[in-house]
């Protein structure tokens, strides 16, 4: 399959707008689950407003949240795909800029020192573009995640040591959820990255925070810890918007990697309740959109 770069650009534009408007079905199911089990009256009202907002966004064809976030594009190139790599990245960047200018979206991206906003949602190294490979033949997949700042500002890394063991992981996750309080727009997905190097742990935490709800960590020990921690953080009483209640997190999700004999890295990255993502699949038959 030869990749048509105009299709990539168009998809990158369309994905940004789609992601901002319609929540994936797994997140909607997550809301239904929390709403059914919530016992605190204020929390119940807050969840009700969030559910109303999801309907209003779809009915009025509007963005779910005003935060257009930092745009992140994850690209997977399948087998037998012929693509000009650098041109692919440029096409994604052009699509991101066009979405911003043409819709128009608020550009939330500024230079870190001058704070200058080019009103393109682009800047140095932004949009964040990750490129990886998949086993699927003749297919290019693009996932778009607008990562909101309220949740991203609550990102944590602890280089624990082996002697602190799994207890350090459990205590750190609980303490991060307490420190974040209502600032992350709970209920959240608490993404936890374990092992690797410091940068890999942080990247894994982001992957975990943006992974589909209802899926489990591929590692059985990681999956068991996810279950334990998911139940535990919802006993803290932080609740939706930090106003108290049972619904602090949809889930704690973990991704892990092997690490050094002397290391025990723990990273936490959170995704807010507007857990937006959209996916485009490009095949010889054309482009299809999903989550």
């Amino acid at each position: 399959m030869k990749v048509d770069l105009q299709s990539v650009e168009d998809a990158a534009k369309e994905l940004y707008i789609r992601a901002l408007k319609v929540l994936p079905p797994d997140i909607k199911q997550g809301f239904a689950r929390l709403d059914a089990s919530e016992t605190a009256p204020t929390a119940k009202r807050v969840l009700g407003t969030m559910l109303t907002n999801i309907r209003v966004a779809e009915d009025t064809d509007n963005l779910l949240c005003q935060d257009t976030g930092v745009p992140i594009y994850n690209v997977w190139i399948g087998r037998d795909v012929d693509v000009d790599g650098p041109a692919l990245k440029q096409a994604v960047r052009r699509g991101c800029e066009r979405a911003t200018r043409e819709y128009p979206l608020r550009s939330s991206v500024v230079h870190p020192l001058t704070r200058k906003n080019d009103h393109t949602s682009c800047g140095i190294e932004v949009p964040v573009i990750h490129i990886d490979f998949s086993d699927t033949a003749e297919q290019l997949e693009i996932e778009m995640i607008p990562k909101g700042s309220g949740s991203e500002n609550n990102s944590f890394l602890k280089m624990a040591i082996p002697a602190e063991g799994i207890d350090a992981i459990k205590a750190f996750v609980v303490d991060c959820v307490l420190a974040a309080g209502g600032k992350t727009c709970p209920p959240t997905i608490v993404g936890v990255g374990l092992g690797g190097t410091s940068d890999l742990a942080v990247a894994l935490a982001k992957r975990a925070a943006t992974r589909e709800l209802g899926t489990a960590c591929a590692d059985p020990d990681g999956a068991a810890l996810e279950k334990q921690l998911s139940a535990a953080v919802n006993q803290l009483g932080v609740g939706p918007q930090g106003l108290g209640g049972d619904s602090t997190a949809f889930a704690v999700q973990i991704e892990l990697a092997a690490t050094h004999i002397t290391m025990n890295p723990i990273a936490v990255n959170m995704q807010c309740h507007s857990a937006r993502r959209a996916r485009a699949t490009l095949t010889p038959q054309g482009v299809s959109y999903g989550f």
């Binding site: 204020t42 005003q66 608020r106 906003n117 909101g148 309220g150 939706p240």
Partner: protein, 203 residues
């Protein structure tokens, strides 16, 4: 847990009547303000031509569309999506916003800290919690972008919105020392030991 309908601007007495867990619906005018707006106002000595005395501000930076000025869009901007950002980053601006500009109502998400609570108590102010991440709904409460100042900071300009039935919003911090956030934080901290014990973490 009373409900209050308030037209802005409001008086100190109207604010002192509000208690945590009350709800409020606002009418008429609301100002949008954010990190850069307040950094420029309070750290860099800039001023605004808007009179904020007795008014409500919301922590926001909206999605807007530039359009020709008209009676419908007097500021040359049409609203696209207007929502609320995390307040905590703007904690240190609460007192100057009240002392220097006379603001009485701050609307935001996630809450403010103890110094803001003291300012609300000293000067007669209140924090109204909106549900963060519900901007599509919030946008339906905004009738018009009436005016804009400090627009070189766009989207973090100082916006003046005309609002209708803006709410209900929850009184989460009042002028009598009440803060739902502080209550929840205290409660959560007190649960920490039991939660960790349940996870088998050795103290």
């Amino acid at each position: 847990m009373a409900h209050h309908e308030l037209d802005t601007p409001v008086s100190e007495a109207q604010i002192r009547a509000l208690r945590v867990n009350d709800t409020v619906t606002l009418q008429r005018t609301l100002f949008g303000i954010r990190d850069a707006t307040q950094i420029h106002l309070f750290d860099r000595g800039r001023t605004t031509r808007f009179d904020l005395r007795g008014h409500a501000v919301i922590h926001t930076a909206p999605n807007v569309k530039k359009v020709d000025k008209s009676p419908e869009h007097p500021a040359g901007y049409a609203p696209v999506c207007i929502g609320t950002t995390t307040s905590d980053r703007m904690e240190r601006f609460t007192r100057p916003l009240m002392e220097q500009n006379g603001v009485r109502i701050i609307i935001g998400k996630g809450g403010l800290r103890d110094e803001s609570l003291r300012a609300f108590s000293d000067l007669g102010g209140v924090y109204l919690a909106i549900v963060g991440g519900t901007a599509a709904l919030e946008t339906t409460w905004i009738e018009q972008i009436e005016d804009v100042d400090l627009d070189d900071l766009n989207p973090e300009s100082l916006w003046r919105f005309r609002i209708r039935d803006f709410g209900p919003l929850l009184v989460a911090m009042d002028s009598h020392g009440g803060s739902l956030y502080r209550e929840v934080q205290k409660d959560s901290a007190s649960r920490r030991a039991a939660v960790l014990a349940g996870l088998g973490v050795k103290a």
